[in-house]
Subunit: 447 residues, 2 copies
């Protein structure tokens, strides 16, 4: 019956040490979401395949984990049918939180108070080839407001970014752009139909450089004249206001483009009134892959750690349209917990309290000493101090090793001497310092 | 493309209102776990089927959700093989948290510091027939210590039960028993081999009454003499100490039974020293279904709400043996979040703050007023007050309705009058009372 246990490739166990750090990140993120009035939502791990299929492109469809129908899944099916996943699976694991959110909003539209502000922190599953930093199960951490076109929502998200990374101690830069500006550019150079091609190419500006982008654009069917018109856009520089002024000039002939420019001007204006000090940079090379974005788009990078974007999102005008509820605009961002974790480990940003789950360990010297300790332990726990007693009266060395390995900062010793004098010895495990404290004072001392 | 969206049967969306209440329960539970030095653990949703199969009996095997292999699952398989789930699925969704915990402990035994105290709060999935109160996806909330035989661990779990239900405001009774006592009983009446039959029958004592239990025992092959010997056990009454005294008499001839009696005496003794005031009752009719229990067993019921057990668990001596790591004793309990939720709704125990996600709504009367509000909102959020502004300058009535529907307790109005006098009108939405407060005092007023 014994077997060497393992877990499926691409999945992870999170040990207590990892979980305490992850919990710190999630709690920080949630506390900020709540400060802005966002409320939690959870959707089931399994969705009907009909909800998921066709929402992530052909490639995404292939990466869905499908769940075999319960019972005799093959009953009544011909051999060829059993070879078709759609005949033997009705459900799949969620692939992201966005489609389930859209599904939820449409399904519950009668009960929801709009604008609907929700956050959602749950795992998602993708049958990607596992590789370093890419997992088949990972948490997404999304915050969205849906049912409002107001740009105050964008400003709120900027503030949330500022506040979360401020609390975590990660220096970041927020890059923004606007899909309407990107459309305006495409329209201005006479290739409105090629907006996505142009966008995808511009997105690579930082990675492959201006010449390669131009080559790629030519490859995607843009003539020299169009590429020449694009030149000032690719070379845009200066402050956000300067960039917006230049854009008004260049793409002002496109009504959509101009609207994008004015949206960004309004967002930057509100951000100033709001007292935001986070660096926010208008970056036209920012495109983001997801094609449901229609307005402002966001991307956050850590200043002092190379890892790609750690947060991103944007405005979408028709996410719920896929489920038959049109004209419901929303905006949201998603925090990348795994990458934020890596940044925090890399920059050593986790506070010390995150490293231990127990603050005080009572050494166990036998039944009588133990009985005497129980009341003190209760008093400490009443004050919220994480306290435990070593459950066996093992050798002192073993108990001290346990405290060290679990990084417990204080050890309390109640031996026969201490019992007589109604006092305890408190050892600070960091400094090695030992002090004698009366039973009565112990609680104040350690709380 | 439009489709009427729905979710798989037996699964649930948790709305913000439900999530806030659920979060309150989970946070309370976790805060107590942490007070006792338990640290969080998470394992993947998917386990290898080899880890799961055979651990829950034949019935359990059928209830596992299996995940179709990625890619061309049928490639190279004969038709008959494609009809066999074990050929097209390697992974399944976890069915409980216990087996993944045992798997984790065995897999990571080299890194773990024992005794290992962990809690784990994650969903599990079972392909049960959905019915009222039974779901295909539900959270389990487990706390275990493994690698210690000390009965102090049992006492700690009793304290945890007391503290959690105390914090939640649920009056409960803890029933305890000991599998060794049950074995001792079976041995004493000459049917040591029938311990599980006797246990299952005794478990029904409360439900079907003493006569039906006797009939069932006869049906399971016990002769009249054995049943007669069982009589004093079935009629045991009095205090825990009285019951233990009587048991020492009746089953004292069984070494195992006597050990069970002494274990319970020790646990009750420690519980007294620890100052536990929770009613703990030795109840021999308590058996609990899971056959891996080997010592103390626990079950908690709400005093004022009929719903079955809301928490239960026990001591197991060989859980990790299924994965090739013998002789590792542990003890743990599991909290039933869904039932606790129902009890709290039924008895109206959720505190008022759990009903709203935003404490202060700023009414939006236009761009200028809005700009003036942003700084105040930031100051409130700096103090942790959940604050939002209605994103559009909609009609006052609509904004007030929004506040009411979201149960927001305070609304702040900054209009042109207020702008001039640098003051805001604060409306208490519960009482209807309105006051004028200066910009400078607003924050103190509402924090």
């Amino acid at each position: 019956m014994a077997q060497k246990p393992s877990i499926p490739k691409g999945t992870r166990d999170f040990s207590p040490a990892e979980m305490m750090r992850r919990t710190y990140i999630f709690e920080t993120v949630k506390s900020v979401f709540r400060t802005y009035g966002f409320a939690p939502l959870e959707t089931p791990a399994m969705e009907n395949l009909s909800t998921l299929l066709g929402k992530y492109g052909d490639e995404g469809d292939k990466l869905l984990f499908k769940i075999l129908n319960s019972g005799d899944y093959a009953a009544g099916l011909a051999d060829a049918e059993v070879r078709s996943a759609s005949r033997i699976c009705e459900k799949g694991l969620r692939y992201d939180l966005t489609v389930p959110f859209a599904r939820y909003v449409v399904q519950h539209q009668g009960e929801i108070t709009f604008p609907f502000k929700r956050y959602q922190i749950q795992p998602v599953w993708r049958a990607d080839r596992p590789q370093k930093g890419r997992y088949r199960e990972f948490y997404q951490c999304d915050v969205d407001v849906i049912g409002s076109r107001s740009l105050l929502n964008e400003v709120e998200l900027i503030e949330i970014v500022e506040r979360i990374f401020g609390k975590l101690g990660i220096g970041v830069t927020l890059k923004m752009n606007n899909r309407k500006i990107l459309y305006g550019i495409a329209e201005t150079i006479g290739h409105a139909d090629k907006m996505m091609d142009i966008t995808v190419a511009i997105d690579k500006l930082e990675k492959i450089g201006i010449d390669n982008v131009k080559a790629e654009l030519a490859g995607r069917g843009l003539d020299d004249e169009a590429i020449a018109k694009l030149q000032p856009i690719l070379e845009l520089s200066g402050s956000n206001d300067e960039k917006l002024a230049k854009l008004r000039e260049v793409i002002g002939g496109s009504a959509t483009g101009l609207r994008g420019v004015e949206e960004m001007a309004e967002i930057f204006g509100y951000a100033k009134s709001s007292g935001i000090s986070l660096p926010v940079e208008l970056d036209l090379s920012l495109a983001r892959g997801l094609n449901y974005y229609t307005g402002a788009i966001f991307e956050v990078k850590a200043n002092d750690f190379a890892i790609g974007s750690i947060c991103g999102g944007g405005r979408y005008d028709d996410l719920t349209g896929i489920f038959g509820m049109p004209d419901t605009s929303g905006v949201g961002i998603s925090f990348g917990a795994d990458r934020i974790y890596d940044v925090m480990v890399g920059l050593d940003l986790f506070p010390e309290e995150v490293n231990f789950s127990t603050k005080v360990l009572f050494v166990n010297l036998g039944a009588e000493e133990c009985m005497a300790s129980l009341g003190m332990m209760r008093a400490l726990r009443d004050r919220g101090v994480a306290t435990e007693i070593y459950p066996e009266a093992a050798k002192m060395k073993k108990q001290m090793e346990y405290a060290n390995r679990r990084m417990i900062p204080y050890v309390v010793i109640v031996g026969s001497n201490e019992l007589e004098t109604r006092s305890a010895t408190v050892k600070n495990m960091r400094t090695g310092e030992q002090r004698t404290v009366s039973f009565d004072a112990l609680c104040d001392e350690l709380a």
